[in-house]
Symmetry: C2
């Protein structure tokens, strides 16, 4: 597929079809989007950018980069209990980037817009001497006053996570040539987790109904637990032995991956939340795993294993 | 001023004070913003990015770059008749960028947030191997169904512009060493227009009440008139002799600037709108200049001078 690579041609041929027939986008023929108020709902807004060489690899296929970009933003929304609505897109294309790459990127957006019923409303497109940079400001709706925050955890709360931790981090390492002796199926599982996270939109409603605090895990389980602990002014205690891991991750551990890497690596896009005892039961019935509890504190996280506190050296996550 | 240059320190020390006490921002301790619905109003949304070396010069002071970034977004909103509300901010800092530059940038945001009663709601901050990139997704409120579009122009409409055209383009050329014989006052006027455009929030209400189509001029008068003509499916006729210019611009023309450069250069951030005869009178009473009219057509712009059609070679605007 080839085409006129000018800004206006790219907008006309690649982005206008993504704006479809939504009233909000005005067909992208105007320079603003207009969002009507939805009575009884707040608009939940999040911005997440991805930079080539930092948040994705130059070798990652651009349709998958597009889908990951949408998914990390949708993940933020559903972790707050919000219903995904639509987005503004910023693309900063490297000078000389071919039309084909832009078309592949737009094709990926198309796939996941349909998958998550999520529409393009508008945005901007620029060029840069630097690496490819992509950013979305995403919108969702939550019932008035009910969008969850990471600041809502209380001492005595149970701490839960919505799915496997560590797969994406291990997938990145597989792409870099590590864990060569893993089965092809395990490698594929881990790489898929890295390239194409699955936003837990299936869990948004139960989180809205039962969680006190909620966020998605993007910087690593421990780093994000620390964000929650600080915002909530409590202490979170995470039991490493209860953190759910996939069969592929356990196989990687058997081949030398350190289990603490799984909880300090990033890109999980699982929901981390807290709830009281009754809420925790409802969340577990919906598929959550209980991994710890909250105590009185001033923004600490401690990790225990075999009943003892263990030291985690690298609590933050440095991108790629 | 020095400081810990880590992502979290920059957010804590520079951006959290900008989020202030608005409920929407949740003090930036959460990872989403939450915007309550304003009954009777639509949310008008625009995204505009600026890249070092493309949209601003490496030598431009960063506090002024910040102010320009806010202003170009606010300009988009007020041209639609919207009341500026707040924004999401994306910063992509070049690796190794000093804390001082980030602090200057934040200081510029502070100044114009106060000037335009415009609040930071949230955003993302990343690093890049490339040039500095800054992007805002800005929000404003307009009465339900009344936000103006560039698609509303009708045959028979008068075409008006809210202020001087060409100053910013000439200011950029002054910064590059052209027009050396201009007075210091004229040079300062032109450079100021380039570095610090003035969003016409004073004109938002009259535009809302009287315009059929409206947008701000960012790509150059002729290029944006063409956007309006195409979106509205009419022909716009611009009378070059009636396009308002400043004394400084006229002095630059006397020193060799081509008058057609003024209408093809960019960065004016004046409001371009159309209205019927009565609306045009109201707009002129508020300070607008009438510069042409709309005819039946299919998306053309023609320029006349001395009563004759003249050819404009470069209708688009190439950034810096």
């Amino acid at each position: 597929m080839t085409g006129d690579n000018s800004e206006f041609s790219v907008i006309d041929r690649l982005f206008k079809p993504l704006a479809g027939l939504t009233a909000e986008a005005r067909g992208l023929i105007d320079d603003v989007a207009v969002l009507g108020a939805r009575e009884g709902y707040d608009l939940v807004v999040t911005t997440d950018a991805m930079v080539e060489g930092v948040h994705f690899l130059s070798t990652d296929p651009l349709d998958q980069v597009a889908r990951k970009l949408l998914r990390v933003n949708i993940s933020d929304l559903v972790a707050k209990g919000a219903d995904p609505y639509g987005y503004q897109l910023l693309t900063a294309w490297p000078k000389g980037m071919a039309y084909e790459g832009k078309a592949a990127f737009a094709a990926g957006l198309r796939l996941d817009q349909d998958e998550f019923d999520f529409d393009l409303f508008g945005g901007d497109t620029v060029s840069t001497e630097g690496p490819l940079l992509l950013s979305i400001t995403a919108f969702g709706h939550a019932p008035v006053g009910r969008a969850l925050s990471r600041a809502g955890a209380r001492a005595g709360d149970h701490v839960l996570v919505g799915g496997f931790i560590g797969d994406a981090h291990l997938g990145l390492r597989v792409l870099r040539g590590e864990f060569d002796e893993l089965s092809e199926a395990h490698k594929a599982h881990l790489v898929q987790a890295y390239r194409l996270p699955q936003p837990r939109d299936d869990l948004a409603e139960v989180v809205l109904d039962h969680a006190h605090a909620s966020m998605d895990v993007s910087d690593g389980l421990i780093a994000d637990a620390l964000h929650m602990a600080r915002a909530s002014e409590v202490a979170l205690v995470i039991d490493l032995d209860r953190v759910p891991t996939s069969a592929a991750a356990r196989a990687a551990i058997a081949q030398g991956a350190d289990v603490t890497d799984l909880i300090t690596g990033g890109d999980d896009y699982q929901i981390l939340c807290t709830a009281d005892a009754a809420g925790a039961e409802a969340l577990k019935a919906a598929g959550f795993y209980e991994i710890g509890h909250c105590e009185a504190g001033t923004g600490e996280v401690s990790v225990i294993s075999g009943g003892k506190v263990i030291e985690i050296e690298d609590k933050g996550w440095v991108h790629v």
